[in-house]
């Protein structure tokens, strides 16, 4: 079994050799080298880094942390927090002025709230001073243009290419009998669905034929996850969250109701109890071959293909039965949700702001980030143009090229999570609405309540203030499909 230390050694050796060779090969110093050189003056200090609990921190604990200490003498202390507590922990540390964290992982749609609250350090001066601009520009545009700034000030370095893409079983989709039967029933080719109508028809077809052994699909349905699918689909179907003039919520439009009704109807061809499914449940079912389609975050695609098999940190993952048959595609509508994601930021209360920034720059740089997104146990997903094109990564498993091409396509067309002042309160409304939907309440009533809840919240925050924030967000190229 490959243990963490040996994986770390392999990647550390790779990174060190890249670092050693890079200056000779390049005419200018790389951003990683610049960061290391500038950070050496801070040798001996410890940086506290806030990370999502679980697999994410294995990167700074086993790879980047020890390597950074070796290069600069700066220790990295990783502090973990469940993902839904990261905002709370960040704000608590800021309000208490505790200086508990130096480097932060910020969920991009929470960045405006944190920036307005003064919890984040503006990074423009550091980017300029350490010449990071050119490498920052090489981040895939959708992340660079949308997950880095608040009102033209840089507050975070986009560091995670989260996108919800479709995974499907090619053996079922390419089976000649299935193809013929489906063509006869529906008059078009059995292939990854490009519309939600097709998704329903294909899902029902597979369930009718294979259930209870295999169901047509199994999706993220826990409200915390399902809200992203709703956000995506609502916009793909033409919905707008607010009226731009009045800031009245329009989530209860006919589109909203139709999407809610469709979400509910689709549960019928999914496994019993799918309403309780989160990431792990859908992931396990897909690996076990119990479902033919799912939409989820990028780690599903590589782990289901068997990447990282034998790694100690991944020994909790069930044996994949779909490694040779997994297919990748954009979800119906072709505009996947860029759900969650992370940007590296510096806490305004940090006592070591420049050192914190330099660690973030180094992690985020071309060379180091390419190593990080290939760590089999880590959850950082490709976010740089060079990551998608990396021959090394494309050779990791037989269909890695398809995987990276799909992620790249998703990064080009993906839709941003809604981001406003006090975003979490608006998202909380969606989460509650979805849980009521699964509870059997009337979609129109639920969405009317949601709209009323949002309107009340907007009034309290200030209509003009929130309208400015909304226009700032909706003006971004990936807020709505054009």
């Amino acid at each position: 079994m490959t243990d963490l230390r040996s994986v770390r050694r392999i990647f550390a050796a790779g990174a060190l050799s890249v670092l050693a060779l890079w200056p000779a090969a390049a005419t200018a110093q790389s951003a990683a080298d610049t960061a290391v050189e500038a950070a050496q003056q801070y040798s001996g200090i410890t940086l506290n880094v806030l990370y999502e609990a679980g697999l994410q921190p294995l990167d700074p604990k086993n790879f980047t942390g020890p390597l950074w200490e070796e290069l600069t003498g700066i220790k990295i202390n990783v502090i973990e927090s469940p993902v839904d507590q990261i905002f709370t922990k960040t704000m608590q540390a800021h309000l208490a002025n505790s200086g508990a964290y130096d480097v932060l992982n910020v969920i991009p749609n929470q960045m405006p709230d944190l920036a307005l609250a003064g919890a984040l350090e503006p990074l423009d001066a550091f980017v300029e001073k350490h010449g990071y601009g050119p490498e920052l520009d090489m981040i895939a545009p959708v992340y660079r243009d949308n997950q880095m700034k608040v009102e033209s000030t840089i507050y975070g370095l986009p560091d995670d290419g989260d996108v919800l893409i479709l995974y499907y079983r090619r053996d079922i989709f390419e089976d000649p009998d299935n193809k013929a039967e489906f063509m006869e029933a529906h008059g078009y080719e059995l292939a990854p669905p490009t519309t939600w109508q097709q998704f329903s028809e294909i899902g029902q077809f597979i369930t009718d034929k294979y259930a209870p052994d295999i169901y047509g699909a199994g999706m993220l349905r826990q409200p915390g996850n399902a809200q992203y699918l709703f956000q995506e689909r609502f916009r793909v179907e033409g919905g707008k969250f607010f009226d731009e003039e009045t800031m009245k919520a329009t989530v209860n439009s006919d589109v909203g109701v139709a999407v809610f009704e469709a979400l509910l109807a689709e549960n019928d061809f999914m496994p019993p109890g799918v309403e309780q499914w989160g990431f792990i449940e859908a992931f396990n079912a897909f690996l076990a071959g119990d479902i033919a389609m799912t939409i989820s975050w990028p780690p599903v695609g590589r782990w289901a293909a068997g990447y990282g098999k034998g790694t100690e940190a991944l020994n909790w993952i069930p044996e994949t039965t779909v490694a040779d048959t997994i297919g990748y595609a954009l979800p119906p509508g072709g505009r996947p949700e860029l759900a969650v994601g992370f940007s590296l930021a510096v806490a305004s209360g940090s006592r070591n702001k420049e050192a914190a920034y330099l660690f973030a720059q180094w992690m985020n740089s071309e060379e180091i980030s390419l190593q990080r997104v290939q760590l089999p146990y880590a959850l950082r997903d490709p976010f740089r143009t060079s990551h998608f094109a990396s021959e090394e990564y494309r050779g990791r498993w037989p269909t890695a090229g398809d995987y990276l091409d799909t992620l790249k396509a998703g990064a080009e067309t993906g839709l941003l999570d809604l981001s406003l002042i006090q975003t979490d309160r608006y998202e909380e409304g969606i989460r509650q609405a979805i849980s009521r939907l699964w509870g059997g309440e009337d979609p129109q009533t639920i969405l009317d309540d949601l709209a009323a809840q949002w309107d009340e919240l907007t009034e309290r925050i200030g209509v003009d203030k929130q309208r400015r924030a909304y226009l700032d967000w909706s003006g971004k190229p990936n807020a709505y499909p054009n």
């Binding site: 309403e275 909380e428 509870g439």
Partner: protein, 296 residues
């Protein structure tokens, strides 16, 4: 009394105060200071975006009256307490009665019964969430065996089942606490009085009403008070099982206050909510204590 004796008495009094002063100081520090801070914060305007510590009057308290979600959460809390507390009390009493008898492996069984009480409520909630899971949970599986077919019961999602599900978890965890306290109380009921009543031909109900109940009443009162306060503050089990959902169906006052304080950072408003809860609980506790005093 001589002057020397007076001086000695004065010194003794000073010494007494000096000895209790550190304890009083600590109690004031950890009890009174947060209370005063809470009261002050509730009349300021501290939010995630800034700490306006100027006096804002009763603005947050007035907002409480318009906040339907708050009153719904408060009603959920009262309702939940009113249902769970008697169930725990009755079940605990019946169990205690059973264990008053000499049973084989009595001590071992008592230890096993007490196990739920010693685990963290978060763990209890997570355990019950798994127990009730559609895919992996044994509860639906067992119901399926009885029904003779697979069943799909979404305990934590179905609005009509979610409260019973939470109630079962809560009662499962805390009935043993009632059982333990009541077992101790029942063990101390005067045997001679019970035997005398039996000799006099008193019925079981009369014995319970006239002898057992008065004897265990002070202990029952304390147990009910402790559990009542705990139930009013219930958070962990419900948060783990439902996060207050579906919608806000199982949201209690503690969950709502947590949401306001630590997710939305409406610090002043959540201070007002906390103050409201303190006032409500103080009224209930003082009234209850006074009642006991009167009874005594």
């Amino acid at each position: 009394m001589t002057a020397r004796a007076n001086a000695l008495a004065d010194n003794t009094t000073v010494l007494k105060y000096a000895l209790v002063a550190p304890a009083v100081f600590v109690i004031l520090l950890i009890g009174l200071y947060p209370f005063i801070k809470l009261a002050l914060t509730s009349v300021q305007n501290v939010t995630m975006f800034g700490a306006d510590t100027s006096f804002h009057g009763a603005v947050h308290y007035l907002r409480l009256f318009d906040d339907e979600r708050l009153w719904s959460a408060l009603w959920n809390t009262i309702w939940f307490t009113a249902i769970a507390l008697p169930i725990e009390l009755v079940l605990g009493y019946l169990l205690a009665l059973l264990f008053l008898q000499p049973l084989p492996l009595r001590r071992t069984l008592i230890a096993i019964i007490l196990l739920p009480t010693v685990i963290s409520p978060i763990v209890a909630g997570a355990t019950w969430r798994l127990m009730l899971d559609q895919r992996f949970g044994p509860v639906n599986q067992m119901i399926g065996w009885i029904a003779g077919r697979d069943v799909e019961i979404l305990w934590t999602i179905n609005p009509t089942l979610v409260w019973p599900a939470v109630l079962v978890a809560e009662v499962w965890q805390w009935t043993p606490f009632m059982f333990l306290i009541l077992l101790a109380a029942l063990s101390n009921v005067d045997r001679e009085q019970l035997e005398a009543a039996e000799v006099d031909g008193a019925g079981a109900l009369t014995v319970f009403r006239k002898i057992v109940l008065p004897a265990i009443m002070p202990v029952v009162f304390i147990a009910v008070l402790i559990r009542g306060l705990d139930l009013f503050r219930v958070f962990d089990v419900i948060w783990t099982m439902t996060q207050g959902g579906p919608g806000t169906r199982t949201e209690t006052i503690s969950i709502y206050a947590y949401q306001m304080a630590f997710r939305e950072f409406e610090i002043s408003y959540s201070a007002a909510i906390a103050f409201l809860v303190i006032i409500l609980l103080t009224v209930v506790v003082v009234a209850a204590l006074r009642r006991v005093e009167v009874a005594r």
